[in-house]
């Protein structure tokens, strides 16, 4: 708990310093507000446009969370599938790596073309962007079960499926947690790309509009809300990860 309070304080100090630096740059360069709005101006704009921002933010958050859930579920089941069968490892691994090699920026327009301007294309973009890190981290964990545990299971005569779910999956929980942490950071990225390419609502859409109309302060306001959400999401998932690690490994070991 004490560490939590300290962490929040440290975060607040860093945030205040960043704001001060930002304000200093505005004063020193005398940049016009449509190039670089001062923090106070952005805050004012955020307050004035709170309804518009909140409306669009909720849409984006929903895309992010749904994509995160679906992508994680898909990643977890793929990793299990890979761990169970050498054949699927042989077939799936190159496909996975190839899929990851295709930049999501290039793919997003096609996804929008196929799935339309609604929620589906955004959610799928998020799923695609987090699928690989979740799969890869969890699969690595599943393949790194301590040899001693596997030897024991072998001598005990354990069935492969039961060994997978009773030994290998619990051992791999900390690895899954690292995959989910990465996913939490990548997911907002995926949703915004989807909204940039084509949407009628969402923060990405709003930012694009604001930018086009030289409403740089509104753009910054959206950016701030998105960043705050990403940080909150990361901390929530991080707490989940710490909980998983404590439950499934020896503390301090």
């Amino acid at each position: 708990m004490r560490r939590g309070v300290l962490g929040v304080m440290r975060g607040a100090v860093v945030f205040a310093f960043a704001l001060a630096l930002w304000q200093a740059v505005v004063w020193l360069t005398g940049a016009p507000h449509f190039i670089l709005p001062a923090p106070g101006r952005v805050a004012q704009r955020l307050w004035d446009a709170r309804e518009l921002v909140a409306q669009n933010a909720l849409v984006t958050f929903a895309h992010i969370l749904l994509g995160l859930l679906l992508g994680s579920a898909l990643g977890v089941s793929t990793a299990l599938q890979l761990a169970m069968s050498p054949l699927s490892r042989m077939v799936m691994r190159p496909i996975l790596v190839f899929a990851q090699a295709v930049p999501i920026f290039a793919l997003a327009p096609v996804i929008t073309l196929w799935l339309g301007y609604g929620a589906a294309s955004k959610i799928v973009t998020v799923v695609l962007i987090i699928y690989f890190p979740v799969t890869s981290a969890f699969f690595d964990g599943l393949m790194r079960t301590p040899q001693g545990h596997l030897d024991l299971a072998r001598v005990m005569g354990g069935g492969p499926l039961r060994v997978l779910f009773r030994l290998r999956v619990p051992s791999a929980m900390p690895s899954l947690a690292s995959g989910l942490r990465l996913a939490a950071v990548y997911a907002p990225f995926g949703a915004v790309i989807g909204e940039w390419v084509g949407a009628s609502q969402g923060l990405g859409h709003l930012m694009l509009l604001a930018n086009g109309r030289a409403q740089t302060d509104l753009m910054f306001a959206c950016l701030f809300v998105l960043a705050a959400f990403t940080v909150a999401l990361y901390y929530a998932v991080d707490r989940l990860g710490v909980g998983l690690a404590q439950r499934f490994t020896e503390p301090g070991g």
Binding site: H149, R154, G157, R162, V163, R166, M173, R247, G252
Partner: protein, 240 residues
């Protein structure tokens, strides 16, 4: 439960190089056999071969039980680490074997065995809250739960302090009585206390080591135990 005798006969190579030459290891039915020798001479490999585990060595020869039935499913094993699952409490670890085989866990038996190794008060604790000795007791309870006629022990007590080690030797000697046991150890003292037969393994093969007349588990401070222990240590040191 009729414990069988076990015979291993053969040689092992690692990448073409001889690990141990043609040798014959006999484990008498229902008795403790201790295997001593320098590190890297192949003691653990022998044990793992009997357990049916991967060894990284190519073995040519035969491993069989005196009753002719296959060994798989009749062996319990404790390795150098206790290998307790950190996410399960003591009871969960004790019934892990049954769970892995898809059997309904026998909780009454688990409770009884946990009491016999003296862990009743810790039955719901996870391993990281236990001392080294308590962890080894939990591991012993798990082995007893498997109720196998053959038990393979690979330096199970090497990480314990002297007092706890002596206690564990007595407990294991008592609770594993009547089973065919192979104990791999570096400790002449442990071998002198526990074994019906002690063997020295060198690159040349196996040879018998002297043991006291008394039956195991022998008192650690009996003059004959100490004398044999010293002789055994001398043989270990002069081994090539």
């Amino acid at each position: 439960m009729q414990a069988p005798a076990i015979t291993l006969e053969g040689e092992a190579r690692i990448g073409g190089a001889l690990l141990f030459p043609l040798l014959r290891l006999e484990l008498a039915a229902g008795q403790w056999t201790c295997l001593l020798g320098a590190s890297g001479v192949g003691k653990t490999t022998l044990l793992r071969l009997i357990a049916g585990l991967d060894t990284g060595a190519a073995f040519t020869g035969a491993i069989g039980a005196s009753d002719g039935a296959p060994l798989a499913g009749r062996i319990a094993y404790i390795g150098q680490a206790d290998m307790l699952a950190p996410w399960l409490d003591v009871t969960g670890n004790v019934v892990l074997g049954q769970r892995l085989r898809g059997e309904a866990p026998d909780m009454a038996k688990a409770r009884d065995l946990i009491a016999r190794v003296g862990l009743s008060g810790q039955a719901r604790q996870r391993p990281h809250t236990l001392s080294g000795g308590q962890r080894q007791r939990a591991s012993l309870a798990r082995t007893l739960m498997e109720d196998r006629p053959v038990v393979l022990l690979d330096e199970p007590f090497s990480a314990l302090d002297a007092r706890t080690r002596a206690e564990m030797q007595e407990l294991a000697g008592d609770l594993l009585q009547g089973r065919t046991v192979l104990l791999v150890t570096h400790e002449p003292g442990e071998a002198t206390r526990l074994s019906h037969r002690a063997l020295l393994m060198t690159h040349a093969g196996l040879s018998d080591l002297p043991l006291p007349q008394a039956q195991p588990v022998r008192d650690f401070d009996a003059p004959e135990t100490l004398q044999r222990q010293a002789e055994m240590f001398r043989r270990l040191r002069s081994a090539p």
